[in-house]
Structure formats: structure tokens, C-alpha cells
């Protein structure tokens, strides 16, 4: 692997995330073994939060160093996209972890999902990139930022859905046990609703950017088609849940499927499309 200035910061950030994941599992393990005081479960959460925040700060340093070195933000190649997503997912999740303590045990699902990206980026070369002229546009910032918030909310929903499914495994049966499936289901879909708002804003900002940059607001390229199908699936999921009585575990599977589709939109599309967006030349 090529050694560039941002790599030590990236590795350190990933190490902090790994620490957060390990502590989250250890805490849940102890709690689920029974006989652990509430104070203990809250104290492990503080360390998990500290580790996530440390990871976020270290990844911000990695992004800053790369930005300074290349002269542009992390918008172009897969290495940059993964690095910026690791930062933004950690940032949004740490805020939710801090502000909504009741959801903290979801870290045992969320942190491994974040680490999927972490292990992926370790397999990539930190190749330098050049910013295409169509990227010098303020709508790009709005599009990217809103997309990151969207994926973060999707991730939290997937984390809660994962908890619901994980509880079917005896070892994790006590996970978030003060919240029955019905309550978790409600919370998970609440995050999907927030995801829908930010996904919609992301698509609007992206369409304005595309109109400015490439002379068309929508051309059904691989990324646009996949992003639209993701939006449609969230809308259909929320609509179906409001209209019919869907068992919470089926709902959890639907959330994970939607997260999978969103994940593919972000990170899978470059593998079956010559360029992420048609106009990127």
C-alpha cells in the first residue's frame, strides 16, 4: 500500500472505532450476563462514546491532511468517499449516541457496519484524485452533506433493526431488553422517516447540481437510478407500515434491505458503472 501523509491518521481513527466496537460488545456481554448494575452499563457507554469521538477527530485529521495535500475535498475516488463516510457516519452516530442514551446498545450492530467500510478502505490504494470542473459548484456541498446525514440515519435504523434480529440469538436476548420489539420498531422507522427527509433533500440538491454541471437534472445513470430506487423503497416501506400491520421483525428485515440498497448506491455503483455519474468526465 502506498504510504501517504493521511494514512497514520486513518489507521489511528480505525483503531479507535475498533476499540469502540470491542467495548460495546464487552459492555453488552456483561449486561446480558446479568447481575450488572445500571451504573456499570452506563460507564462502559462513556468509554464507547469517547472512543467513537476520538475516531471521528482522528479521521477529521486524516481528511484535513489529504485535503491540504491534494487541494480539494474527498469527493472523487472510492478511497476518499469511504474515508469521508467513515468520518460522517461516526460523527452523526456519536451525536445520536450522546443525545439518545436509550439507543446506545445498538453500537454492537452499528460499529461493525461502520467497520465494514473500515476494513474495505484498508484494501484500497490511497490514489490521488483530481477534481473535475463540474465539481466546482456549491450544490455539490449541499448534495454530499445531506447524503451523509441520510446514510447516517439509515445506519442507525439498520442498527436498531439489527438489534431486533440479534435478540433472537440467545446470547443477545437481553440486548435493549427494556424496549420491546414494538418500541424498537417504532424508533427504527422514525430514523427511516428522518432518512427519507434527508434523502429527498439530497436528491433535490443533486438534481440542481446535475442541471448546472452537466446540463440535465436527471439522466437515469447507474447512481441516479439506484438512488431513486432507494428513495422509492423507503417511501414504500413507510407507506406499507402505515397501511398494514407488518410484524416488527419483517419490518426489521425491510430496513436492513433498504440500508443494503443505500449502501450499494454509495459504494457498489462504481463497480458496475464506468463513472459514478454519467457527466463525470
Amino acid at each position: 500500500m502506498m504510504m501517504v501523509a493521511e494514512m497514520p491518521w486513518l489507521w489511528a481513527g480505525l483503531l479507535a472505532y475498533a476499540g469502540a466496537m470491542a467495548m460495546a460488545f464487552r459492555g453488552v456481554w456483561r449486561v446480558s450476563n446479568g447481575g450488572v448494575a445500571v451504573a456499570n452499563s452506563l460507564s462502559y457507554e462513556r468509554w464507547v462514546l469517547l472512543a467513537i469521538v476520538t475516531g471521528v477527530v482522528l479521521l477529521a485529521m486524516a481528511l484535513g491532511v489529504r485535503w491540504e495535500r491534494l487541494g480539494h475535498g474527498p469527493f472523487v475516488n472510492l478511497f476518499e468517499l469511504l474515508m469521508s463516510q467513515l468520518f460522517s457516519l461516526g460523527l452523526v452516530y456519536s451525536i445520536i449516541y450522546w443525545r439518545v442514551p436509550v439507543l446506545r446498545p445498538s453500537a454492537v450492530v452499528v460499529m461493525p457496519l461502520i467497520w465494514l467500510l473500515g476494513s474495505w478502505i484498508l484494501m484500497l490504494e490511497p490514489a490521488d484524485s483530481r477534481l473535475p470542473p463540474t465539481y466546482f459548484n456549491n450544490w455539490l456541498w449541499a448534495h454530499v452533506s445531506l447524503g451523509k446525514i441520510f446514510l447516517s440515519f439509515c445506519l442507525v435504523a439498520a442498527g436498531l433493526a439489527g438489534v431486533m434480529l440479534l435478540r433472537t440469538v440467545p446470547r443477545f436476548a437481553g440486548l435493549l431488553k427494556q424496549m420491546p420489539d414494538e418500541v424498537l420498531d417504532q424508533m427504527a422507522w422514525r430514523f427511516m422517516m428522518l432518512a427519507l427527509v434527508f434523502d429527498s433533500l439530497m436528491l433535490v440538491a443533486g438534481a440542481v447540481w446535475a442541471q448546472d454541471a452537466w446540463g440535465r437534472y436527471w439522466s437515469w445513470d447507474a447512481l441516479e437510478t439506484s438512488a431513486f430506487l432507494t428513495w422509492l423503497s423507503i417511501g414504500a416501506g413507510i407507506h406499507a407500515r402505515l397501511s398494514y400491520k407488518i410484524p416488527s421483525r419483517i419490518g426489521a428485515l425491510a430496513i436492513l434491505a433498504i440500508f443494503g440498497l443505500a449502501f450499494m448506491t454509495y459504494f457498489g455503483t462504481p463497480y458496475f458503472s464506468e463513472a459514478a455519474h454519467k457527466g463525470v468526465i
Partner: protein, 335 residues
């Protein structure tokens, strides 16, 4: 009306739209325009019926605004597909725009525009390049005749289109050089025109073309350029600073011409007037653009308002104290 507002029909419409989106992937113009417009209009009807008949929607302001916004998007997106216009063309320096030069024309069956009334003339252009031939900003000068007889100059390029009669003209990455030639036949009037060479610098080493004068044999041309281009350093492509020698070969003779020079060939005299440039444009027309934007923003604001009120009335267990209470309460219940 209530049947039309069915939530089952909504899910059916969504599934239909998803299939249509999948089939339109990569090239919607290759499929029928109704492929996408049919499910959109179907969903628009379903939305309209739901807005009118469902109290769950029309008595909640946020949800009502959201559904009205969605209805607007469905209708406008469908109208946009029926009225859109897209095309490409290449325009030489000093040449006025004409609809005769359009290529790759695609348009909706209901397109009614005033493209014939568009009037502008191409000026110079410059393109920035970073080391390694990485393209940067494009600046293209267009000259717009005014009602009082004067000419207004405007610089367009990249994300700054030229807006005329509702049409948006975007510069493309395609651009190159064009020698201006005058052919004076042995009998008849001289004719002046340009010969667009392949895109530059993409085809830097393939600057050749062919032209057959009326009643004569084909002539091959090769343009040897000096543009100051270096791969290692930043560089600005500027036709006004470029120089080019035109190599003319009619199969019998090979002659090199500088601007202003001429050569006698069988059937007439060819004069290389000057080196000029051409640049590619893409035209986009969709009368629903602004309406779509307003509808989309309205829908999102309505949805955000609805969720804001919904979540405010059912807050999450946000504070550590409440979290602790929940945990202790749970243990107490268990005990």
C-alpha cells in the same frame, strides 16, 4: 374516488415506477416516453384522490403539503418528459447559431419551443488545464444581438449556461481548431468555409480531415499546431494564441500553408485564410424545471413539518436521567 385513493394502488404505482426506472436505466430515450410518464400519472391520480378523500392526509397540514408537493412532482416530471428537448451541435468562431447544425436531437412528443428564434454568435473560448492534461474551467464568449442593434457579450461555460427562449446552452468538453479556407473555382464565385478538425487536445496527433471541392478530387488536410501545450505544466487552451500550419495533400502534391497563403490545385485555388476554433454545445429544454424544484422543496418541507410535529408529541427517551429511570424501572418490574 375512494377506490382510486387506495393505499394498495399507491404501492402498486410505486412498484410500477420502480420497474419503469429500472427499464429506463442509462438511456431513457431508448424506451418509450410513456414508460416513465404512465406510472407517474397513475401515482398523480392516486395522490389527488387521496388528498381529496383521506382525512388522515387533508386534516394534517404537513402531510397535506407533502402530498400536494408529490402530486406536483409527478405531474411536472411527466409533462417534462413529454415536452423536453435535447440536442448537440458544434459552433465555429464567428458563426451564428442555426438549427440546421443540430445533431442527436431528442424531444418529447409535446415539445413546442421557439428554438428558431434563438440568435447568438460564437466568440473565442479558453480552457484551463492542470498538469497531466486535467481539464479545468471553460470560458466561452457568446455575442448576443440586442434590439437596439448593439451586441452584448456574455461568458458561459461549465455550470454557467446560456439561457435563451427557455433553452439552456451548455458548453461540452468537445472543442478544437478549424482552419478557414476559401476555394476559388476556375469558373464561378469563391466560397469560404471552415473545416472542423477533430477534438483538441484529445486527438492532438490526429488533426486531419478531408474535403472534396465541387467537381474535383478529394483533398487531405493535416493541421500542425503550436498551442503552447505542455503535459507537465498548467496550460490555457486559447485559440487566439495558437498557430497552425496547414498541410494540403491532393494525392499529387503536398504543400504546407501558413495563414494567408494559397495553392493552385486542379479545378481551382485554395487559400488558407486563418486559424479559427470550434466548440461543442449541448442544448437542454424543460419548461417544468423551476416548478419541479418548487414542488420538491414544498414536499420536503411539508414532510419535515409533519415529522417535526409527530416526533415532538412522542419524544425519544433522550436524557440520561430518563434512560436510567427506564433501566431501573425495568429492573423493578422484573424483580
Amino acid at each position: 374516488m375512494r377506490r382510486l385513493a387506495s393505499t394498495r394502488l399507491t404501492l402498486l404505482g410505486m412498484a410500477w415506477l420502480a420497474v419503469s426506472a429500472g427499464l429506463s436505466y442509462d438511456d431513457p430515450a431508448a424506451t418509450s416516453v410513456w414508460m416513465l410518464t404512465s406510472p407517474m400519472l397513475f401515482l398523480a391520480l392516486n395522490l389527488l384522490a387521496a388528498i381529496i378523500t383521506q382525512p388522515g392526509i387533508n386534516r394534517r397540514p404537513g402531510l397535506l403539503v407533502f402530498h400536494i408537493g408529490l402530486f406536483g412532482i409527478c405531474v411536472l416530471a411527466a409533462v417534462g418528459r413529454l415536452t423536453f428537448f435535447e440536442a448537440r451541435f458544434e459552433l465555429g468562431q464567428g458563426m451564428p447559431f442555426s438549427t440546421e447544425m443540430l445533431a442527436d436531437v431528442r424531444q418529447g412528443p409535446w415539445h413546442r419551443g421557439a428554438l428558431e428564434q434563438v440568435n447568438f454568435t460564437q466568440g473565442f473560448y479558453t480552457v484551463d488545464y492542470a498538469p497531466g492534461l486535467t481539464r479545468g474551467s471553460t470560458r466561452s464568449q457568446v455575442l448576443l444581438p440586442q434590439a437596439n442593434g448593439s451586441v452584448r457579450e456574455q461568458i458561459v461555460g461549465d455550470d454557467k449556461p446560456l439561457l435563451l427562449e427557455g433553452y439552456r446552452f451548455y458548453t461540452s468538453f468537445n472543442k478544437g481548431f478549424a482552419p478557414v479556407l476559401t476555394w476559388t473555382p476556375e469558373t464561378g464565385e469563391p466560397v469560404t468555409g471552415t473545416l472542423n478538425m477533430p477534438s483538441y487536445p484529445m486527438f492532438e496527433y490526429k488533426q486531419d480531415s478531408e474535403w472534396t471541392p465541387p467537381g474535383s478530387k478529394p483533398i487531405k488536410f493535416w493541421l500542425r499546431l503550436d498551442t503552447g501545450y505542455t503535459k507537465e505544466q498548467s496550460w490555457v487552451l486559447d485559440g487566439r494564441k495558437a498557430k497552425g500550419v496547414l498541410v494540403v495533400n491532393n494525392g499529387e502534391r503536398r504543400v504546407e500553408l501558413a495563414p494567408g497563403e494559397s495553392v493552385d490545385l486542379p479545378g481551382g485555388k485554395l487559400r488558407y485564410e486563418q486559424l479559427s476554433t470550434w466548440i461543442g454545445y449541448k442544448i437542454f429544454y424543460d419548461p417544468t424545471l423551476y416548478g419541479l424544484f418548487i414542488s420538491a422543496i414544498t414536499a420536503v418541507l411539508g414532510l419535515a413539518h409533519h415529522y417535526w410535529r409527530k416526533f415532538a408529541s412522542q419524544p425519544l427517551l433522550a436524557t440520561p436521567e430518563r434512560r436510567e429511570q427506564a433501566l431501573i424501572g425495568n429492573r423493578t418490574v422484573k424483580a
